[in-house]
C-alpha cells in the first residue's frame, strides 16, 4: 500500500517535472532535462521512457500517431518534444554538446554529415527496415563512410512546376524533357511574349544551381569531399546554362525577398515555370484562383539530353536518428520501425502532406489519383544527396552568392567558378588535413 502511494507520488512528481520542462524548455533545456531524467529514471514505473524530438508540424501530428504505437507496446512510453524548425538545428547541436540529447530525433537529412562528424549518432543496422523499398538517392543521404546513421522518414525534392496553358501555346503540350527542349520552350515563350518571363529561378536559392549541376552529372565536390569541383566540365556547363537563362532574359535576376506574392504572379503569368518542392502543391491548390486550377502541372526536371529519362534532383527530407549513448536502443529501433511501416507512412502523408520515403506507400490512392504527385514519384527515382560534408551549407551559400553575381553580370563566369573553388578549398582545408592524418575513413 505504502509502495503504491509512493509510486503515485513519484508519478505525479514526474508529470510535474515534465510540465515544468515544457514550460521552461526554451530557457534552460539542459538543466531541466537532467532534472527530468533524474526524477523519471529513478522511479519504479516499469515503463521504458523514450524521448523523441520531432520538428515543427511533424512534431504536432506525430503525437497522434504514437497512441497506436504505445497500445502495441505497453511497456514503452514515448515522450514527444516538439521543436520549431527555425531553432531545431541549433537545439540539436547544443543538446549534443551539453549531453542532453533525446533517444530518437527527427533530423533534416542534410544535417546527418555534421552530426556524424561530431560522432553524435548511433550506427543503425540496415535490417531495421526493408532497405529495398526505399528510393536509393534518399537512402544514400543517411550513409556516411559506408555506415548507416538514419532511416528516411519522409522525402522532399524539387520538380518543375509549370503553366500548362502557356507551355501548350508555345508548342509544348507536355513539359520539356531535355535541356534542348527546355531552352527552346523558354525562348519561344520569351520571343512570343507568352508570359512576362519564361521561368523563375530565385537568385538566393542554391537549390536551383544544385539540381542543374546534378542533372549534368556533377557531384559539386570531389569524391573525398576535400576540394571543390566547380571548374570541372559537369559543373561549369550547368553553371553556364544557369547564367544563360538570365542572360537571355528567360528569368529575371531577382531574389525571393523581392517577390511579394509568388502565387499571384504565377497565376497572372509573370512566369511560366518554377522549380520548387512538394509543399507548394498544397499551397498552389489553396492559393491559385479556381480558374487556374486546371492550368498548372508538375513534371520531373528536364534531363541533360535524351540519354537519361529525367534530370537529377536533390535528395531532401527528414530522417529518424538514434543518438549515441542512449539507453533505449531497442525501444528506439521499435519506434523507427513503427513509423516506417507503409501504413504509418501513408497516414503521415495524410496528416502532414509530407511525401512517403517508401515506394510501397506510394500506392496509396491519395497519392496515385492526385495529378501533381506522380511527377515527384518519378523524380524520386533520380535524386542525389548533396555533398556529405558538414561544410556544405557554407559552400552552398557561396554558390548562390557567386551565381547571383554572375547572373547580374558583375563577375565573369570563369572568375566566379575559380572563386567558388577557392572558397570551397579554403573551407575544406580541415578535412584535407584530417584525411592526411587518416582520422576520417573516407
Amino acid at each position: 500500500m505504502t509502495r503504491n502511494v509512493e509510486g503515485l507520488m513519484l508519478k505525479v512528481e514526474c508529470k510535474a517535472t515534465q510540465i515544468l520542462h515544457h514550460l521552461t524548455f526554451n530557457i534552460k533545456p539542459s538543466t531541466f532535462l537532467v532534472l527530468l531524467l533524474f526524477s523519471c529514471t529513478a522511479n519504479r514505473d516499469p515503463k521504458e521512457r523514450l524521448e523523441f524530438w520531432a520538428l515543427g508540424r511533424e512534431g504536432e501530428v506525430v503525437a497522434e500517431m504514437l497512441a497506436d504505437f504505445e497500445r502495441a507496446n505497453p511497456d514503452i512510453d514515448v515522450v514527444v518534444q516538439q521543436i520549431p524548425w527555425s531553432a531545431a538545428h541549433e537545439k540539436l547541436l547544443t543538446a549534443y554538446v551539453g549531453e542532453s540529447t533525446p533517444d530518437v530525433a527527427q533530423m533534416g537529412n542534410t544535417w546527418i554529415p555534421e552530426f556524424t562528424a561530431m560522432r553524435a549518432l548511433e550506427e543503425l543496422a540496415p535490417t531495421v527496415v526493408d532497405r529495398g523499398d526505399y528510393f536509393p538517392g534518399i537512402w544514400a543521404t543517411n550513409v556516411i563512410g559506408g555506415k548507416l546513421y538514419g532511416i528516411p522518414w519522409y522525402v522532399d525534392t524539387r520538380v518543375l512546376f509549370y503553366r500548362s496553358d502557356i507551355l501548350a501555346a508555345a508548342g509544348f503540350p507536355r513539359a520539356p524533357r531535355t535541356w534542348g527542349e527546355w531552352g527552346q520552350a523558354m525562348e519561344t515563350i520569351r520571343a512570343r511574349r507568352l508570359s512576362r518571363y519564361a521561368i523563375l529561378l530565385p537568385t538566393n536559392e542554391f537549390e536551383q544551381i544544385e539540381v542543374l549541376a546534378f542533372s549534368n552529372g556533377s557531384t559539386l565536390l570531389n569524391r573525398d569531399g576535400t576540394r571543390g569541383a566547380f571548374r570541372q566540365p559537369p559543373f561549369a556547363q550547368a553553371f553556364d546554362f544557369y547564367i544563360e537563362i538570365f542572360r537571355r532574359g528567360w528569368s529575371p535576376a531577382v531574389s525571393n525577398s523581392e517577390i511579394a506574392n509568388i502565387y499571384q504572379q504565377f497565376a497572372q503569368g509573370d512566369f511560366a515555370m518554377w522549380i520548387t518542392g512538394p509543399w507548394n502543391v498544397g499551397e498552389c491548390k489553396r492559393r491559385l484562383p479556381a480558374e487556374m486550377q486546371d492550368k498548372w502541372a508538375t513534371a520531373p526536371l528536364p534531363a541533360r539530353d535524351a540519354s537519361a529519362p529525367t534530370g537529377v534532383s536533390m535528395a531532401g527530407g527528414s530522417s529518424l536518428v538514434v543518438f549515441r549513448g542512449g539507453k533505449h536502443r531497442a525501444a528506439a529501433e521499435k519506434l523507427i520501425r513503427f513509423l516506417s511501416e507503409p501504413a504509418q507512412q501513408v497516414r503521415f502523408f495524410e496528416l502532414t502532406g509530407d511525401l512517403p520515403a517508401r515506394r510501397s506507400a506510394w500506392s496509396a490512392p491519395a497519392l496515385v489519383s492526385d495529378p501533381y504527385f506522380p511527377a515527384f514519384r518519378e523524380q524520386l527515382e533520380r535524386v542525389q544527396p548533396l555533398p556529405q560534408v558538414p561544410e556544405w551549407e557554407q559552400i552552398a551559400t557561396a554558390m548562390f552568392d557567386r551565381g547571383e553575381a554572375a547572373a547580374r553580370g558583375t563577375v565573369a563566369v570563369p572568375a566566379a567558378l575559380a572563386q567558388l573553388d577557392a572558397k570551397a578549398d579554403a573551407l575544406l582545408e580541415k578535412r584535407r588535413w584530417m584525411l592526411d592524418r587518416a582520422v576520417i575513413t573516407r
Binding site: L93, M118, R119, S257, P390, A426, M434, V439
Partner: protein, 290 residues
C-alpha cells in the same frame, strides 16, 4: 604585508575570486580558443584540434562577410546611437521643463519600453512591420501612401531595426539625462537670463556644457550597447535580406552556434571587443580635450 593591507585583501578576496572565475578565466579561455580551429570535428575527437596562431584573425579580416557585418554594425551604431541620444535628450528636456504636468506619468511611459523583454518586443514589431497587416502600413495607406515591405526591403530593413532599437532604448538614457539636468544649478540659468540669454542660448551655453560628463557616460553606454546588437535582427530578419542586417554579433553567433566554428567565432568576439574598446577610448579622449 601590513595587517591593514592583509585585511583589505581578505575583504576584496570574494570579489576578486568571482571576477577571476567568471570574467578573467573565460576571457583568457576565449582568447586561447580563438587561436585554435575548434569545430565540429573537434567535438567528435579532440585530436582534431590544431593551434593556428593568428590565422583565424587573418581569415576573418580577409573575408567579405566580416566587412559586411562590420559595415552594418557601424551603420546601426552611427545612425542609431546619435538618434537615441537626440531623442532621449529631447524627451528629458520636455520632462524637465517647468510647465509640464504629470511628469512621473510621462517618465514612466517613456521608460516602459526599457523594461520590456527585447525578444517579445521584436516579435511585436515584426507584426507592426508586416507588409500587409502591419500597423505602420495601415497608417501609410490611410494617408494614401504606398505600403512598404519594411523588413523585406534590403535598403530599409536596417533602418526599421534602428527605429525599434531607438524606441526600446531611449528611455534609459533619458533618465540619465534627467538626472544630469537636475544637477545643473538653477543660479546658472538665472545669471544667464539676467545677461539676456534666450532659451536657445541658455541651452547652448549652460545646459550642453554642464551635461558634458553625462554625454560621455551616455555615449559610452549607447555605443557599447549598439555595437553588440543581436536580438533584434536575430528575431526579426535572421540577418537578411541579402545580409543587410547581419551584425557582428549575428556573425559570431552564426559561425559559433550554426556552423560550430568556435575558434573562428571566438576571433570575431575579440575583434568586436577591440572595436568597442577603441570606440570607448576615442570618446573619452574627445571628452578630455573639451
Amino acid at each position: 604585508m601590513s595587517p591593514e593591507s592583509r585585511a583589505a585583501l581578505l575583504f576584496l578576496a570574494p570579489a576578486i575570486l568571482l571576477l577571476a572565475v567568471f570574467f578573467f578565466a573565460p576571457v583568457i579561455a576565449g582568447f586561447a580558443l580563438s587561436l585554435t580551429d575548434f569545430d565540429l570535428y573537434t567535438i567528435g575527437d579532440s585530436h582534431n584540434l590544431r593551434f593556428l596562431a593568428l590565422r583565424n584573425y587573418r581569415d576573418l579580416l580577409g573575408s567579405s562577410i566580416f566587412w559586411t557585418a562590420f559595415g552594418n554594425t557601424l551603420y546601426f551604431a552611427l545612425v542609431g546611437g546619435p538618434l537615441t541620444v537626440v531623442v532621449s535628450l529631447a524627451a528629458a528636456l520636455l520632462i524637465n521643463a517647468k510647465l509640464i504636468r504629470a511628469k512621473s506619468l510621462f517618465r514612466t511611459v517613456y521608460f516602459a519600453p526599457v523594461v520590456t523583454t527585447l525578444v517579445a518586443v521584436s516579435i511585436v514589431f515584426k507584426y507592426l512591420y508586416h507588409p500587409r497587416f502591419g500597423v505602420f502600413n495601415r497608417a501609410l495607406s490611410a494617408v494614401g501612401l504606398e505600403s512598404i515591405d519594411w523588413l523585406g526591403n534590403p535598403k530599409l530593413a536596417m533602418f526599421a531595426i534602428i527605429m525599434l532599437a531607438v524606441w526600446k532604448g531611449f528611455g534609459y538614457t533619458m533618465i540619465i539625462f534627467i538626472a544630469g539636468l537636475q544637477n545643473i544649478p538653477g543660479e546658472l540659468y538665472e545669471a544667464a537670463r539676467i545677461d539676456g540669454a534666450g532659451w536657445w542660448k541658455q541651452f547652448r551655453h549652460v545646459t550642453l556644457p554642464m551635461l558634458g560628463p553625462t554625454f560621455l557616460f551616455v555615449g559610452v553606454v549607447v555605443a557599447i550597447g549598439q555595437l553588440q546588437i543581436f536580438a533584434e535582427p536575430y528575431v526579426m530578419t535572421r540577418g537578411g535580406p541579402l545580409n543587410k542586417t547581419l551584425t557582428m554579433v549575428m556573425l559570431m553567433y552564426e559561425q559559433g552556434f550554426r556552423f560550430w566554428r568556435m575558434g573562428y567565432a571566438a576571433a570575431v568576439a575579440f575583434v568586436l571587443f577591440l572595436i568597442i574598446g577603441t570606440a570607448t577610448l576615442v570618446q573619452m579622449r574627445l571628452q578630455e580635450k573639451r
